[in-house]
Assembly symmetry: C2
Homo-oligomer: 531 residues x 2
């Protein structure tokens, strides 16, 4: 079933090439594509609440692997079942349901080879890194548009255009609408319909919103962007009179679970989905530790693909040792020392460390949103050269409060170009990703020992550095200006202790790459990591 609105985006989709992302009955589907089964069930649709009263699941099997996916009611008399084939070949499926019309249905799907730009879902790889299912490394460079799917459609389109031209490959976005400073107006759609009493009815998702969300996730996939879905957040309409409050942050437990089940059934088959249990979990006063554990259990039970799961702090970091959490999603706690703590967190949790908030480029009144581009880029480098990942956000004051970090729209800052430069450089590091290496007390060193060594000098501005190269190989050296985005080779090949001349400016780095017997650096192979 393709609605008019779906059709409106078909061109974009085809262009971006995510085959199978447009929900339609399918009997063939590429590996890691989205395969959708749609069923018409008029009897079931007549139950009091088709969302809650009808249970539908399907088992998918290729003989070796069996997956169970929940189906979901999508309005009218339509139920959908979505499936992402994890391997190529013939998959048979069979439904079970409390609704006789939906029970015992069966069929087969042929999973074909993935398109060239389909690398499969992202997973934790080599403990501290990420890779797509096909082994391609994922150097996570995220950005943040918390409420973009709740903006007028024109701005949503503009956001996608901005993302298409930007270096980001992950987007932090709230499922529920947001009410917070610089973003105090009603959403385009709520996530639930209003009941007779005017309050949101947690039992009745607003399908107009969730269908839009589907499309946005698919469009992000086509842009190569992971959709880091924030499942709960504290930015509710606290300023409104009690009768007008939204209450997303205080839903009853049954409604939270029903929402999660619906969301997972709907979007888990999109290969680019990540789950973020919460933004700033520690200021969600109505939640208990057991609530977070329960949400993680629901995800584990409902998502057969094992998408990444994180939970993001405000002041107090979650215990990321929890095995339900795949990676550290950190907000800087200190105003000054931020991503410099990457190694501490890597060692403490033995998981990838993603600094999803190190404060944003901008000039609003708050310290979280008025960094210079230089300082944000510095925080990116400090984190990434230590083997972590860092996220972007932008908060320039705007006469209509159109701040990228909350509403999307246009990017105005100077950091994205530098972040693109950094991402490109990091992607040339051989192996699974940058590992922190024994460096100097005053400058972090990271890379792949013996092969690719990157040292960063931050706000310091040495006129020269002594760079310690292994004595048993030849290296090519480049002086990197991380702000002006230049790479200047030092003539010749080098080994042992080397004095490298620098311009005496801030934001410089040195890259040393081991030269193969051919006299060319070894590390020019395309970045690949075992999955």
């Amino acid at each position: 079933m393709m609605t008019n609105r779906h059709r409106a985006f078909a061109a974009v989709r085809q262009h971006a090439g995510m085959d199978g992302a447009i929900p339609s009955p399918a009997t063939t589907c590429e590996r890691w594509g989205l395969c959708e089964l749609a069923f018409d069930a008029p009897q079931a649709a007549r139950t009091a609440n088709p969302f809650l009263d009808v249970d539908l699941q399907a088992v998918f099997s290729d003989g070796a692997t069996t997956l169970t996916m929940r189906g979901f009611f999508d309005g009218g008399s339509t139920w959908r079942l979505r499936f992402m084939p994890p391997v190529e070949g013939r998959w048979s499926w069979r439904t079970s349901s409390t609704a006789p019309e939906l029970d015992g249905l069966r069929g087969t799907i042929m999973a074909t080879p993935p398109a060239d730009d389909n690398h499969g879902p992202v997973r934790v790889a080599h403990r501290h890194h990420f890779a797509h299912a096909d082994g391609r490394r994922h150097v996570s460079v995220g950005t943040t548009c918390y409420g973009w799917t709740h903006q007028p459609l024109e701005r949503q389109e503009q956001t996608l255009e901005s993302l298409a031209a930007a270096p980001f490959n992950k987007l932090r976005m709230c499922v529920f609408p947001k009410w917070y400073e610089f973003h105090r107006d009603p959403p385009l759609h709520h996530a639930f319909l209003r009941g007779a009493d005017g309050r949101l009815d947690w039992g009745r998702p607003d399908l107009a919103y969730f269908q839009l969300l589907d499309r946005r996730i698919a469009e992000l996939a086509r842009l190569g962007i992971e959709a880091d879905l924030i499942l709960f957040h504290p930015y509710d309409n606290h300023d409104a009179p009690a009768a007008e409050r939204w209450g997303y942050d205080e839903m009853p437990a049954w409604a939270e679970d029903a929402y999660l089940r619906h969301l997972v059934a709907r979007v888990a088959a999109y290969r680019n989905v990540w789950w973020s249990l919460a933004n700033e979990w520690d200021i969600m006063k109505a939640k208990t530790p057991e609530d977070w554990a329960r949400f993680a259990r629901v995800l584990k039970a409902e998502d057969p693909y094992g998408h990444p799961v994180s939970i993001h702090n405000c002041g107090r970091m979650y215990d990321h040792a929890d095995p339900a959490i795949s990676h550290v999603s950190a907000q800087r706690i200190d105003t000054v020392r931020t991503s410099e703590d990457t190694v501490v967190l890597r060692e403490r949790f033995a998981k990838p460390v993603v600094w999803d908030e190190v404060a944003y480029e901008g000039d609003v009144c708050h310290g979280w949103g008025n960094l210079t581009a230089e300082e944000l880029v510095r925080r990116f480098w400090e984190g990434m050269v230590r083997g972590g990942y860092v996220g972007h956000g932008e908060t320039y004051a705007h006469p209509q409060d159109i701040l990228w970090w909350s509403r999307g729209g246009a990017l105005h800052g100077q950091s994205p170009a530098r972040i693109a430069f950094l991402r490109g450089l990091v992607e040339t590091c051989p192996g699974p990703g940058i590992e922190p290496l024994p460096g100097d007390w005053d400058a972090p060193l990271g890379g792949c020992a013996g092969a690719w060594l990157l040292q960063y000098y931050g706000f310091n501005r040495p006129r020269w550095r002594w760079f310690r190269l292994p004595a048993d190989g030849d290296y090519q050296i480049e002086v990197i200006d991380t702000w002006n985005m230049t790479r200047t080779p030092v003539p010749g090949v080098h080994r042992g202790n080397l004095r490298v001349e620098l311009p005496g400016r801030s934001y410089m780095a040195i890259l040393a790459r081991r030269v193969a017997a051919t006299g060319r650096p070894n590390a020019s192979a395309p970045p690949r990591a075992a999955g």
Copy 2:
């Protein structure tokens, strides 16, 4: 007795106006001036080692107060006794000595009112601050020229000229010569003579050096600069063959004590002396905790004036809770978070916090010496707005390795002008000094509650801030550009919550001063604090 060398500096001294600083027999002396008694003792001078074999002390009394000062051998057949009258009036003195010629001598001194620019020695005041003995506040703004008294005389003169034009009122300087990167050449004088074996003879101070040191301390006093004398340091000639090593860092205990007694006898009567037990005590491998305690005991026994005593760390901070230590002399331990920790140290030790090293303005290869001027000035502001004090140093690469931080000479940087601006501003804070006040999570607030409020925004660049003023008074507001050194009043008087427009640049501050009934700020009185 005035040597030729003394005469050579007499003009400078008179210009700077420290009466009594030129050693000469005196019967009148201004309060807190230096009064010197010189004695000729040919018999005593014939002992094997007049430094060690002759004990000389004098008791000074005005009837109410009694002080004991040690005398010292100063070459030829001359012994000197120096005295700083702590109060005006008639002081009688009487010597005791193991040398009959020096025993039982007596006389009187009339202590006259101090000159206008003589405010007496600096002491800890109001727990976290400093003040001169006459109550005048001392807003400590130091700099660092570790080895300046070991440089050629011309450079020493240049250093004094540079200091005369700079905002600094404390100078960190090593008594012993220094051998360290960028400073590897023999000193003008060693602190001891060489013995027959060519090694330094710890029993025989080189008086040419100590007499020069006298003059330098006096000249600093005339410039209004405290001489923060570093008594021991680890920067010895470790690169030299063992036979040529200096060994200042491994002196035998008897020699350490004799050196300290000589030094204190010689310079404690200069009102501008501070004692720093060590630079980077924690990397002086030959020293034990008991050594540091012993040095502090010697100072306590020998210095009747109670000059400030500190001990400066490299990586590990000394336990400044030790009652022998008057104030915290801190080196930043972290490369990023430095003087932001002022409040932590204030509360932990209940003493003034002086960040004597937060890294230096410069561009050498090491992270301790290649800050931008902007970053050093930021560290000054971060520390001082929190009620601490911060010190300067400069390390620009120089073809002859003439780095201010080690050799003095000329200042090349951009921070001193901004530090002068800051010092001038802080000196207008009423009360004993800036106290940290409850501010915002992202910007420290300090000052005098209800009267003078200073908030600093560091590298952040808000376009506006909400500034919380008390509701029960009127305030004048200034927007301060700490880098461009401008103060821009916000028109009108204000109370309660106020939106203050800012330029969206880094390094801004807001100052709010309570307005008296006259409509003019109260805080314009000259800065004074009870002693």
